[in-house]
Symmetry: C2
Subunit: 442 residues, 2 copies
């Protein structure tokens, strides 16, 4: 790297798919992150962080159509350019969490209840709601042999509580893969996974597309394909879906088990506002690793926008590492997806450009030590304080506070005076105040 490289003018341009916030937007995002973490912890979930990368073989050992979207890492001056990447950025937090549980199995207490708020990366073509780098807030429970159905109901209630408190109304759709697989098996379909994949495209290709796919690709009879479509049309905000599924006349043990599980979940979400949760037989979720409950949440206000939280139950994710069954259930909040949409729609309460609550002004020919000591006295009581850095005109200092949205400006005494004054920048009111006693009006 030559030293004169510094002399080039390189105009910076945003990198597509990698969102970046202004300070005033970031302040709101931070408040959201705090809120999400607080609620996760209020239910006793512990935080973990996994590295941004996993071994390529770990990422490749998992289901889902994601391999083409995974970013491998290689040093820019790697000696052997032919050598493939050995590590790659994770594309979600579920696969890393499964690896974490397997690796640290003996140090964890089960049921292992963890949350994980980290960035993930996918090499997708960027479009509305799809980013190459995005923040996910995941919450999962993993247990030995069996994970209690209790958590299938607790997790969506937690996510609902979070999003409601952030003023993000959602519609949460819940299904159970056992219902789909059992129903399809009951119809005599030998490859239900392929059929589920086609049925999952209902939103995108419509009922005729699904019918065609089921008949031509999976070899269903037109009548069986129609039954699949009939199943996918069933939705209910209570447990009445079970009756309607049974009325389709298909019988299968796995189907019964799935209905029983989804009834439990719906019953234990009944305390949420009417319509918040819908049992929806059209929901399948793309990842093959789901084996029971599946979730998909959307903005109530923007139903065409991609799902903003999703997840489900997986029985065999960790067991690709250990000869032990460690099923789990989890939900993921797509924070970047939610936040970027609300920002674009202009509905976020974006306020000041700084967390500062008080600016201590620098009086003309003032004593820097008095300015700093005053600021430190206020800070000692938890107030966020900037000490203005130089003897500049009042206009400059007040203009600085005003541009940053700082609500109070503090004036240490000038010359022979001894009284401090504090000015409310919104009302303009200015009063005497003692830096050892003054509190921020609440």
């Amino acid at each position: 790297m030559s030293n004169n490289a510094q002399d080039r003018i390189v105009k910076p341009t945003p990198i597509t798919g990698y969102p970046e916030l202004l300070p005033e937007e970031r302040l709101v995002e931070l408040a959201w992150l705090d809120r999400i973490r607080t609620v996760f912890e209020s239910y006793g979930f512990c935080s973990i962080e996994t590295p941004s990368v996993e071994a390529v073989e770990v990422l490749a050992a998992k289901g889902g159509d994601v391999d083409k979207e995974v970013y491998g890492l290689k040093r820019l001056n790697e000696d052997d350019p032919e050598k493939g990447a050995k590590v790659a950025l994770h594309y979600d937090m579920t696969v890393p969490m499964a690896r974490y549980v397997a690796q640290h199995y003996n140090d964890l207490v089960f049921p292992f209840k963890r949350y994980q708020m980290q960035k993930a990366w996918r090499g997708e073509r960027p479009q509305e709601g799809r980013f190459r780098e995005f923040m996910q807030c995941d919450i999962d429970v993993v247990d030995n042999d069996e994970v209690s159905l209790h958590f299938d109901a607790e997790l969506p209630a937690i996510v609902y509580e979070i999003l409601s408190s952030l003023n993000v109304p959602i519609t949460l759709h819940v299904n159970n893969r056992k219902i789909l697989e059992g129903f399809y098996r009951g119809l005599g379909i030998s490859d239900p996974v392929s059929a589920i994949r086609i049925a999952d495209k209902l939103d995108k290709i419509g009922p005729d597309g699904v019918r065609k796919g089921l008949v031509e690709e999976v070899g269903l009879s037109p009548a069986a394909a129609q039954s699949c479509l009939d199943l996918a049309s069933i939705r209910a905000t209570d447990t009445s879906f079970a009756q309607r599924v049974r009325a389709l006349g298909v019988t299968n043990e796995l189907l019964d088990k799935g209905l029983e599980e989804l009834v439990f979940v719906m019953e234990h979400l009944a305390h949420l506002p009417p319509g918040a949760v819908t049992a929806d037989m059209a929901i399948a979720r793309g990842f093959d690793y789901y084996t029971g409950t599946v979730y998909e949440g959307k903005f109530a206000a923007y139903p065409d926008y991609p799902s903003i939280c999703s997840g489900g139950r997986y029985d065999n994710l960790v067991s690709s590492y250990l000869k032990r069954k460690l099923p789990g259930v989890g939900l993921s909040i797509g924070l970047t997806r939610i936040f970027s949409k609300l920002l674009k729609e202009g509905v976020l309460p974006v306020g000041p450009k700084s967390p500062t609550q008080v600016l201590v002004a620098f009086p003309p020919d003032g004593d820097r030590k008095l300015v700093l000591a005053t600021a430190q006295k206020l800070r000692a009581r938890g107030i966020k304080v900037e000490a203005f850095h130089e003897d500049r005109k009042w206009k400059v200092q007040l203009g600085y506070a005003s541009k940053k949205g700082i609500p109070y400006v503090w004036f240490p005494p000038e010359g022979e005076a001894t009284a401090h004054n504090v000015k409310n920048m919104i009302t303009g009111e200015q009063v005497h105040a003692d830096p050892d006693l003054w509190f921020l009006p609440s």
Copy 2:
């Protein structure tokens, strides 16, 4: 990706250089991150986050011997394997911050005071204190044309306050590149940057190595090389260094300016405990972009461990993007480096495996709704509560609380009883309590 890939057993192994914490360790790290953020914000600094990647040309336009350590990103199935990476993971937060300031110039208020707590990546050979992925906590001030020397003193005071409050005693060494460059120019050295680079290796190659390098590589006379070594030997915990530098008999305008700046900084750090800050003429810092104050902090307890916080003043970092002078000064706390060392030394207060404060037990044949409602009542007052998920033996439930380090177990009434009870898991004491009124003993 074939479906039966899931059937392979892939034993997970840690990836060298990518640290990962257990939940009980992560709880301590989270408390540290909260503390660091709280102090940064108490001085009115705003948070920003930049993407994990920058354009390769942005990273390459900056000084420093880092290009060989930068990780480029390429999708695993990239069509054209010959094509080089266009974006790469950032190796610090200074270069991304400079790009951010240039890109969002019109939306920022100056002096721009920001903190940034993010991961960075370097393809170094992992060794003690050196990681491939690590968390940095940076604080910088950037201003138009000129940045007040006030901040050269404020930033180390902030970092000192943070590390003291985390019980991490440090020794902070401060110097000014103008002293070095001015002194070297005063000696008639035409390429002071090369000379500074050699002198910076004093710790590694010793005085004889530095003397040899200065004579053989930069062409100094043995007497001039000795003067450089004499300069590098000057250290003081007050402003007496200036007198001693001047006593070496070299005169130069830039040297005078540097001494004046460092005297200001030392005077304004005089309120810190004696010995906390040392003016140290041997400190140069590797990055070429520093032009004034430079900082290097080490563990007081482990002086041979690499520096745990560092930074300095740069005049021309942002100006490679804009035809405008935007100098800055910053300091970076190497969180991963600090945390990993203290963890290894066993001196961190690692406690419970979960944030949970109360476990609401599930009584025999109990009512799940009563368990959940009790937990929700406690949560409503900010208590972190797990509801035990199933009707299991008391022994199992108490064992779970005990293994996780949960301090209180709550027993909802059983059968005909109406009283709730709460058990202190440390003292064993159990008392009646009302879920609508009970507070965590402080």
